[in-house]
Symmetry: C2
């Protein structure tokens, strides 16, 4: 059996009782390392917090390993119970559909243990989840690569009065260009897009396109470390949020559509006039 | 302090360690009774499974009570720690924004413990969550009340190639018309819309509107008891799904938009040709 277990958003305490029970009975435990493992007590020297809680060794599985060694993981799951741990929900912002497809093709039973993901935890700010349109991703711009397909999607959502969740780029274990040229893989240090960078890029695209999809006065909600003890959630205009230091990653951003009075009231508790102490924690 | 704690979707084992820790330190524990408490071992005689796990009494709070007695709950939270338990995520399909707004207006600290909700757990079927458009609700039609505002939304989502989550009506503790006329409240038995009824209503509206937003051959995914041990997830045409007995509530339905190859592969594992044993469990 292959268990795909969501760990939730904060730290080791966000696993469910069902999830913990499943991990404990698995002989082999993998943890995905390619979204964010920032708050789970994981460091380069080990996975100590989680390993202590589970009472067993954990193998860190980056994207490369999952892609290259999926067959190994699947063949292990044929012989004994294997857990694959995922930050957030197994099918949240990052999906593990490929691994599930390959397991099922091999006739392996897959059991999923759900948990919170950024896709539902943003409900915290008071904007109704059913009033969101299509989610967009904001990738890091480079000098030569400035993809802006998010623009039409945001514009469409705003025309319909819908809110837009912007997932901000994460670059973990990206091979450096120089190392690719040398034919030996070396990795860039991990990079996580801040709310400030995201807004800078959004405004740059608005300026280039000029269709008034949004502007520096558009109300947004910035989330940092959503679901953690030290999360920060602040509502304000793009211009206001751009000036705020939200601290360490992960960040995400919601562009607010048409609001109902109760939504407005909730956003009122999150305005930039308050300090982060007063922000929703 | 007022803790709003998500219980997840399945049963008492779906609470997180963080949630359980919070409940245990609260002096008073409420549980919302107005979405679904079907799988949480709750019956009219009590809340035994949860009460045993938490080691304390739980007060069942229906919508009426939360609306009428919010002040009591909030004033308790001023004096000691109070937990308000919510099936799914606190801000999932049903929101508790009102209670949070009132608590914050009274200067009470609110802490939210997230969990899985139907809004992210549907990711299980392999359709990417960021490819969903606006969520719609399908209400029970009566002879005189047949609201169909979902139609334009589904049409818009499908035009854009997006998937649509349809939340199906839940009627719990609805005062009966007869009792309202008599001036004394009596309640209708609870009603939960099945996938079959939802599809019947959807097709009726398509026939009346005739704009080809969808039809009986449109691919959908039906979910019953999502997140529970006995969940059923089946993909097929509206016509095929309409003929399936999905069993007890809760049900929900996804109308599939434009798919990518990996999404198709996942849906392939969920086709109606297989028995429910082979459906994703």
């Amino acid at each position: 059996m292959l268990y795909i277990i969501g760990l939730g958003l904060g730290d080791e305490k966000d696993i469910t009782l069902r999830g913990l029970e499943a991990v404990k009975k698995c002989e082999k435990v993998y943890i995905e390392a390619y979204t964010s493992l920032l708050s789970f007590g994981l460091s380069s020297n080990g996975l100590s917090t989680l390993e202590e809680l589970y009472g067993k060794m954990i193998t860190l599985a980056d994207r490369e390993m999952v892609e290259e060694r999926a067959d190994v993981i699947i063949s292990e799951a044929r012989d004994f119970d294997v857990a694959f741990l995922v930050v957030g929900d197994p099918f949240g912002a990052t999906t593990h559909t490929d691994l599930v497809v390959r397991a099922k093709q091999s006739g392996i039973n897959v059991k999923v243990v759900h948990n919170a993901s950024v896709m539902n935890a943003i409900g915290l700010c008071g904007l109704q989840l059913y009033r969101y349109g299509e989610t967009v991703s904001v990738p890091f711009f480079t000098e030569t690569w400035r993809p802006d397909s998010f623009y039409e999607k945001i514009q469409r959502n705003r025309t319909l009065g819908l809110h837009t969740l912007c997932l901000l780029d994460i670059r973990v274990k990206e091979p450096s260009l120089a190392s690719l040229c040398r034919g030996r893989k070396q990795y860039e240090p991990p990079r996580y897009m801040t709310i400030s960078t995201a807004i800078e890029q959004l405004l740059e695209v608005e300026q280039a396109r000029g269709a008034f999809a949004y502007g520096e006065d558009t109300t947004c909600v910035g989330f940092a470390r959503l679901g953690s003890e030290d999360q920060i959630v602040v509502a304000g205009s793009m211009k206001q949020l751009q000036a705020i230091d939200f601290g360490p990653p992960l960040h995400c951003l919601v562009i607010v559509g048409k609001t109902h009075p109760v939504e407005d009231e909730m956003l009122g508790f999150l305005t930039t006039k308050e300090t982060s102490d007063h922000a929703l924690q």
